[in-house]
């Protein structure tokens, strides 16, 4: 199993969803769901710790790739994560994305934690900090109404500028 002790949490997003833990786990790990709320991207994951994880762009290109660190349905799904679909991010150390699903009252608390293994500047984190609320808001809407939000993301200009400065 991948050692993840050196990853430090940098971005956390919590949302409560009127659904079962099983339904939330499915929405996170089944391509027919992720396509609806994750900018059209399809997850492709080998359902076991150590398995391969990828997010595929609508044209089939690999956008994100990594390795499953924890596959524990319906409570926890963790994978390493490298955005390979953008030249600017390919050289960065991979990060870690953890989804924790817990019953809370009559609904479910979903906690997304993005962790990093280097002293990543806030400007680079800004990309994820803008993206996660949109993605996870839409996931909640898909599960509760069957219909996604039409969230169009603006390019992460602050992150791209910081990445350009990093490689200069």
């Amino acid at each position: 199993m991948t050692d993840i002790g050196h990853f430090k949490p940098k971005t956390v997003y919590v949302t409560y969803i009127a659904a079962t833990p099983e339904a939330v786990f499915e929405a996170l790990t089944v391509p027919a769901f992720t396509r609806q709320y994750f900018g059209g991207f399809a997850i492709d994951v080998a359902p076991r710790s150590g398995g391969a994880f990828r997010m595929l762009a609508p044209d089939g290109a690999v956008h994100i790739e990594g390795t499953v660190v924890d596959w524990s349905p319906p409570r926890r799904f963790v994978c390493t994560w490298k955005v390979v679909g953008m030249a600017e991010t390919r050289a960065l150390p991979e990060c870690l994305v953890a989804y924790d699903i817990a019953p809370a009252g009559g609904c479910v608390r979903l906690t997304m934690t993005e962790s990093h293994q280097w002293d990543v500047p806030d400007a680079i984190l800004s990309g994820g900090r803008a993206g996660w609320p949109a993605i996870l808001s839409s996931l909640k809407t898909v599960l509760e109404t069957g219909k996604a939000l039409s969230v169009k993301m603006e390019p992460p200009t602050e992150m791209l500028a910081a990445l350009a400065a990093l490689t200069r």
Binding site: C107, E144, K147
Partner: protein, 158 residues
Amino acid sequence: MTTKPTFVYVTYIAATPERVWEALTKPDLSAQYWFGYRVQADGKAGERMTAVNPAGRLAHDDPILESDPPRRLVYGWKPLYKDLPDERASRVTFVLEPFKGQTRLTVTHDDFDDGSKMFALISKGWPAVLSSLKSYLETGKGLEPTWDDEQRKRAGQA
């Protein structure tokens, strides 16, 4: 470098800013998603924001600092429960931005002193309230309370 604690939460809601504004400021609507709390915040700057808990007790009586419907609402924050940390008032800012008939709602809760104990409580509370607000506006039904034992006790204080 010291950075004062600041809580920021963004959520996208399939409802117009006008509807989100109404839900944030009218007690009959807040009662349906804010776990029974009746929050009145439809006054002008200088008037009061009040919240009454499900047992009928006044839980907030704070100043409205800015009100620009349906775009921006700012109020003070000092809950009137005696078991909570005795800290000076902090500040809550709601910014509502329209997007294709939807709203991007950004809630910023700041103006805490370093080491604030209240900060940990509000960081836990807002995601639950704002998730329930989103559910209420999109499905007509708020979430069931996600309270812990202390929140449950406060909500029941008459």
